[in-house]
């Protein structure tokens, strides 16, 4: 087994002219090879050393809270339905109607300290924990809420009532799109990787010092 020098949790080995890849996360392994018999061989080998292991085989896997679905040829679909449902159900307030987007145009606007009504400590703790859960979600299956969440993470130290409403807005958006999956396809890996970068300048915090939008 050869370790990928750029990620020590990925192992590769050439077996019968094809690559066997093992990905590792603490004590969870993901093994893949063209020939399923080779995977079985490796599992038997591991069982000899570690005793009985829990094995899940096929095209759909529950891995680290994500549902990885390889069943559509050429596509990888990542869903986190259960996680999303739990978040929506556990939110202490009634969410009401769904929202069409995760954030309103005022996402980056923050009130002056003198005007802002900061959340009581108990609610601030809830805010922090929901933001952290959303961060986990947005880094994996739900990239569409990442902008809103990245703003919320900057506010966890001292959230105000506006931030609470922004958090609620994200959850209301999720409520309307519970079953949205991240769907990835590789066109031709030998050819290219496409990167896009884009930048906007934010409005400075106080209205009176605002120069540019």
């Amino acid at each position: 087994m050869k370790i990928n020098p750029y990620d020590p949790c990925v192992f590769n080995k050439e077996v019968n002219g094809n690559q066997l890849t093992v990905t590792l996360h603490v004590d969870d392994l993901k093994i893949s090879h063209v020939d399923s018999f080779e995977v079985t061989k490796l599992i038997r080998y591991l069982e000899k050393i570690y005793g009985k292991v829990v094995v899940h085989r096929g095209k759909v896997h529950d891995y680290l809270g994500m549902d990885l679905d390889f069943s559509d040829e050429g596509y990888l679909q990542v869903g986190m339905f259960k996680y999303t449902d739990n978040l929506i159900d556990e939110f202490p307030e009634e969410l009401g109607a769904t929202a069409k987007t995760p954030a309103s145009d005022n996402l980056f606007k923050v009130r002056d300290e003198a005007e802002a009504k900061f959340l009581p400590e108990e609610q601030a703790v809830v805010f922090h924990s929901f933001t952290a859960s959303l961060l986990f979600l947005s880094q994996r299956a739900r990239r569409d809420i990442q902008t809103a969440v990245s703003f919320l993470t900057t506010r966890v130290k001292r959230p105000d009532e506006d931030d609470w409403l922004k958090l609620r807005r994200v959850l209301r958006y999720l409520k309307g799109t519970r079953r949205l999956k991240l769907r990835l396809k590789i066109d031709n890996l030998d050819f290219s990787l496409g990167w896009l970068t884009h930048h906007t300048e934010c409005i400075a915090i106080c209205e009176d010092t605002q120069e540019r939008g």
Binding site: N4, P5, Y6, D7, V10, N12, Q19, T21, Y75, T98, K100, T101, P102, A103, S104, D105, N106, L107, F108, R142, R143, D144, Q146, T147, A148, S150, T154, G176, T177, R178, R179, L180, K181, L182, R183, L184, K185, I186, D187, N188, L189, D190, F191, S192, L193, G194, W195, L196, T197, H198, H199, T200, E201, C202, A204, E211, R212
Partner: protein
Amino acid sequence: MRGHTGAGLTLGEGAAITLCMKQKMNTRSSTETEIVGVHDALPTILWSVHFLRAQGFDVKHTILKQDNQSAILLEVNGRSSSSKRTKHIEQRFFYITDQVEKGLVKIEHEYTDKMWIDVMTKPKQGMAFRVDRSKVMGCPIDYTEESI
């Protein structure tokens, strides 16, 4: 004036890696913001190339698309494209120039309205949001769910 960086990697459909972060420093112009942003995203870009190559995939081109022409010129030509508005930019931000010279990354221009990663930098509404979301998530533009 703090900028906000959004970057994304696609291998075909959907964004496999996305970055969305507030910049750590103040900048004077949008060109400088872009250069700082590329600097922020560069470690992930280079890592993804190295990682895939180590996995046995022969990645021939890594194309970085941007919409700011003067930032592209500065990144490709380094200091020689500098003018009095950009000559203050710190040297460390020109690490990208070395990578372009080495051929690891190629920079291309893309029109702003085609930059779907824009959704990582600002809250969008309506159609604009749905179009960008369809590119990031690999879902249909008019994705809706019956109320559950």
